[in-house]
Structures are given as C-alpha cells and as structure tokens.
Symmetry: C2
Subunit: 307 residues, 2 copies
C-alpha cells in the first residue's frame, strides 16, 4: 500500500470477474473489502477465486507487501455499504440497473464517499443522470484481466475528485489514465475495436489466417506498443524530424491507407472463419489453459518492469 494512503473500507458491488479482480487487488494492498452480489450462486466460490487472483497479484509485489485486508461477502446491499469509504461498482452493463443501484448506494453512504464505476460501455454523462451528487460518480475502467493489467481509465467531472481517484488507483499499483471528456469505450477499447476491425478484415479478405494475424501483432506492433505508444512510435518513425517530419512526409500516405482499410461485417461466413481460425491457433488448449498462459506471460513482463 502506498505510504500515506489510509486503509479503506471498500464496498464491491457485483461479484463477477471484474469484482473478483478488484477484491484481489484491493485486499492485497491492505484495504478491507465487503463484496455484494444479489446472487448467492455468484457468491459461492468467490473467496477462492479472489484468493487465486491475489496469489498472482502478490507475484508483482516482491517487497513491502502490507497485511492482507479482510474480505467479507453479503447478499444484502446495505450491509456492504455500512462504513464504506470507497465504492467500486461492477454491476451488469445496464443503464437503468446501475442508476437504480446508485440511488440505493447514495442513500446509504457518507457524503464524501466516491462511487467508481468499472463500466466498459456506458458513460459518466448517462450514468450520473438522476444522482443527488453526480460529481461523486467517476468511471474507473480496468482492463482485462484487471488484477494484472495496470491500466485504469478515469473520467471524473470534478478536479479534486479526479486527483483523489488518481491517488487511490496509483496506490493499488495501477497506471491510471485520465479522459478529458467521457466517451463510449473510453480510450483503450476504442483503440482495440479499431484494430480488431482491420484484424477481422484481413481474415475476411483471405490476406492471412487468424493465427498469422495474431502472431504478426504479438511479435510486431503489440510488442512495440507495450513499450511506446502509437503516437510516439510515429514520432520515432519520422527520423530526426520526429512527428512533424512524419506528418509532412508520410501523413498523406496514412490518410490514403485509412481510406483503404476494410469495413467488414460479422456475417456467418466471417464468424466461421474466426471461430475455425481460433480453434487452429488454440491447438487443443482450452480457455483455462490459454488464460493461464496469458497470465503467466503478463506476470513475467510486469516483473521486468518492476525491477
């Protein structure tokens, strides 16, 4: 836990994959968590899943690990909110459902408490409608798998609340990034969606197989983007003149390429190609095995960046 950041009592609202990751990360950083879900089926096994994820988080905390925070579960919303100093909401992506939850949460918590929504596809402007104190709502979108990926995308309408949020997620070992205005898909999912559109197009147009597209990304731009961003890459691609020279000499060819990129549709034929291609790439490994490989590889890279 970052020095000086007091031990929070965090209410986790919604115990799916995202809630589970937050619980692992937050308890590993010494915060106490009460996790709420209306479904006792979802709550069953939650502690074990959190413990498994927390073991992975610990691999990225080689020194100075604080005492693990307490984890309690409840199917009663009000119980989760008693004394809460932070609320992390990970309910299903349904606007009305979240708005109803916020009304219930606001009625139960102290005025200073922030409600952070993990929403991936809704915006602050939509979500905050009808709240008593809309500024207390922020969007804090993590990236899957959230207990390992450093990115948290923040939109906060109020400057002081924004600063507090940055401090909070930084204290969880995250790399928070600020949006100047809220947008569907924040930053990362917009970028991912734009790239995937062309990745689908390349398969649909028979330029390359699914596994070749994935390999090109992993050993090429993906690897480079794990080190420098897309804008910076073109700055370094411009030679001594940097981005200014790049835009002058190669900007027009980028604009021509943009026009030429594909606009695929996810037709049954295209879906079949994607599904068959993934089966080929997976080569018999099931989802669990693939996710375990991904996590182990992420941990190895993140450990390098720690040292």
């Amino acid at each position: 836990m970052t020095e000086g950041l007091f031990r929070q009592k965090i209410a986790i609202i919604g115990c799916g994959l995202i809630g589970e990751s937050w619980a692992a990360l937050m308890t590993a950083h010494g915060h106490d968590v009460v996790a709420w879900d209306p479904s006792t089926t979802v709550l069953a096994g939650f502690e074990q899943r959190v413990e498994n994820a927390r073991k992975q988080v610990w691999q990225l905390m080689p020194t100075g690990r604080p005492d693990t925070g307490c984890l309690a579960l409840t199917d009663q919303l009000e119980t989760a909110l008693v004394g809460a100093t932070w609320v992390q909401e990970n309910a299903p992506e349904k606007l009305e459902l979240k708005q109803t939850l916020y009304a219930q949460i606001e009625a139960a918590i102290d005025d200073y408490v922030i409600i952070a929504s993990s929403t991936s596809s809704l915006t602050w402007s939509e979500l905050s409608v009808g709240m008593k104190r809309p500024q207390r709502l922020i969007t804090a979108h993590p990236f899957n798998p959230p207990h390992l990926m450093p990115l948290v995308e923040i939109y906060a309408a109020d400057a002081a609340i924004r600063a507090l949020s940055l401090a909070f997620y930084t204290g969880l070992g995250r790399q928070p990034v600020v949006l100047k205005r809220d947008a569907v898909g924040h930053i990362a999912n917009r970028l991912a969606s734009a790239l995937w559109r062309e990745a689908v197009n390349i398969v649909a147009e028979d330029i390359a197989d699914v596994s070749a597209v994935d390999a090109a990304l992993v050993h090429g731009p993906g690897l480079r983007w794990s080190v420098i961003g897309a804008h910076m890459a073109y700055h370094l691609g411009g030679g001594d003149g940097g981005i200014e020279a790049y835009l002058k000499h190669l900007g027009p060819s980028q604009e021509r390429r943009w026009v030429m990129l594909g606009s695929p549709k996810l037709t049954p034929d295209v879906c079949k190609k994607l599904i068959d291609g993934i089966a080929d790439e997976a080569g018999g490994r099931n989802i669990e095995a693939l996710a375990a490989e991904r996590d182990a590889a992420l941990i190895r890279i993140l450990q390098v960046n720690l040292s």
Copy 2:
C-alpha cells in the same frame, strides 16, 4: 546461427536504417554481408552504425553466438552481387527504381538465388512485373527497429521458396509470419494504421491528450497484445464459450462501435495537437534518447522471452 543453415553470402541492397539493421542481424548470425548503396555519403559511417546495432542484437544471443560474419561495403552493384546466395533489397519505396534494380540484380545472380524485398508499402504483384523469374522475388517486411523486433512478414508466390524463406528468417532469430495473398501494408502496418486512425481521432475530438492515449495503449491493449493477439484476446473475453460466445453476445456491439469510431483528417489543427502533444510527452527528451529508451525496454522484454 541455426544448426544446419549454411553460411550465406548476402547482398544488402540499400544502406539506410533497414539495410543497417539487416546487416547487424545477419553478421551477428554468422552470415557474410556485402552492402551496396550508390551514395558514398550513406556508406560513410555505415560500419559503425552496424556495429552499434549488432551490440544490441548480441544482448539477445546469450548463448551459442557464432563467429561474426564479414561486412564489406561497395558503391558498385555488381561487386555486391558476386557469389551472392541471398539478396535483401531495402531501396527507397519507388516502384520503378526497385523494378530497374531487380533487372540488374537478376542479370548478375545465380538462378537459385532469392531476392527478398523489405518493402513496407509496395506489393509483390506490382514489384514482380517484368522479372525473368518472378517467383524468386519475395516480400520480407521487417518491423522497426528491425534488428530487435522479431516480426518479418513474408509473401512468397511459390511454396518451396516460402518454406526456404521461413527457414532463413527463423535462423536469424525472427518470427516470420506468412501472408496468403499480398496486400498493401501487409498485416502489421494495416493494424497499426487502423489503430492510429482512432488514436488521432481521440486527440482530435479532445477525448484525451496524446500522452494519455499512449499511456492507455502501453499499460492496456499494447501490453496484452505483446502476449496474445487481438483475435485470441476476444476468445478469452468470451468466457467459457470463447470466441463463439463472444461473437454471438458482443459481436453486434462491436459492429455498432465500429460505426461510431472516428474518421479524422490530418488538418493543420489536428497536426498541431499531435505535435504539441508529443512535445509534452517527450518532456525534453530528444529522438536519440527516446529511441535508446525504447530499445533498452524492448531488449529487456525480449530477454525475458528468451529465458
């Protein structure tokens, strides 16, 4: 050098940044190189630049480093081609210039020798027009910085030549990826261009700053794409049902998002935002310092993958 791959005598045609990287990589793997460029200005300092790049390549060859191959320079094309067993062409991206070069090269080399073009923006179909033996031409596109980035994108019209090319670049420690048909931008630059279009849009629309977009990419999708490809990421995003479940449940929302993504123009205003944003992100670091940081970070990650 991969066991069983004989020591080649490679003619490097064009001694810019790409030629320099290939020379470093190929000599580090024990091949002899004769590098040709018509400009003595370009040739001046070439050996030193190759040596610097080779030192970085060596950091990725902790064991089993072969004797370094010989490096010779010439401004006479025919001299470079005497006894060549492989030709790697990195001339400027001008179709007629390359076609003229191929005619000269074909006149000087043995029938079995492959001419590999590093072209980033031209296609095999265009480049091979007028050749005596078009099948001997392949495109073998590296990714910047080519002596560090593992990706080489291959298009070869002939199956046996394709197999030979894969063996050759694999022997250089590369990760070659095969295109089924040739396409402008191959795979990686199409993906990069598609992503950058939205990265520019996010800045143009004031959703986030240049540095925030780059940080979101580096700590989010970029990091993940250094481990798994975009298609595989959605396979793992589909839960137990994998890509099939993803396409069924979230395919329609992806299609809606694709429609919503931006189509920015590189207007003077947008260019100014990008240039100012990069200046802010660079924070006084010049191109050389930024490239050195990028290279050091790439080497650290690639070293992890070696072990």
